[in-house]
Point group: C2
Chain length 99, copies 2
């Protein structure tokens, strides 16, 4: 018997990383401070979770200057989108079971 929960992706088990990904699935480029506001996090905490997703190559980074201020933006990579979709599929199966 195949157990659905064993197909979970560890990278998305945390609510913050799940939140970051779910924002990046529906918005192309989102910058650091926007994510920080949306998720109501300290910058250190957000940075560390972003790093984790970056290490997995689930998001990519774009650093530039806007109005002479540094601005870092993120978006989901193809790899990240697929991994996230798969993770959601696992959840969907659990949900379906309960209908």
């Amino acid at each position: 018997m195949e157990l659905p929960i064993n197909k979970f992706n560890k990278a998305f088990e945390n609510r913050i990383r799940l939140g970051v990904m779910s924002i990046l699935m529906v918005n192309d480029w989102v910058d650091f401070s926007t994510l920080k506001e949306m998720l109501e996090l300290t910058d250190g905490n957000l940075a560390s979770h972003i790093k984790a997703l970056e290490v997995e190559q689930y998001i990519e980074v774009n650093k530039r200057f806007i109005n002479k201020k540094p601005n870092t933006s993120y978006r989901a990579t193809f790899l990240g989108r697929n991994a996230f979709k798969e993770h959601l599929n696992v959840l969907e199966n659990i949900i379906k079971q309960n209908e």
Copy 2:
């Protein structure tokens, strides 16, 4: 703006507790060794996660003897079922967003 992930239930953020609950949502009484096999866990690990759900009063416990051997069974309480359904609703909303 209401952020879905802030409605997550901490009790279900762990894959094992999520697994236990999703099993108990579709089976009335399930005993310890069955859960242990299904989730492929050491007994100490399972016991600790079960305890966590018990403390939240999301599952109830029935201890008895079958064939003169101790047998402990669990089932989801009304409170637990509702909490779990709410948690799945949050996930469902994230999934819907991605369709």
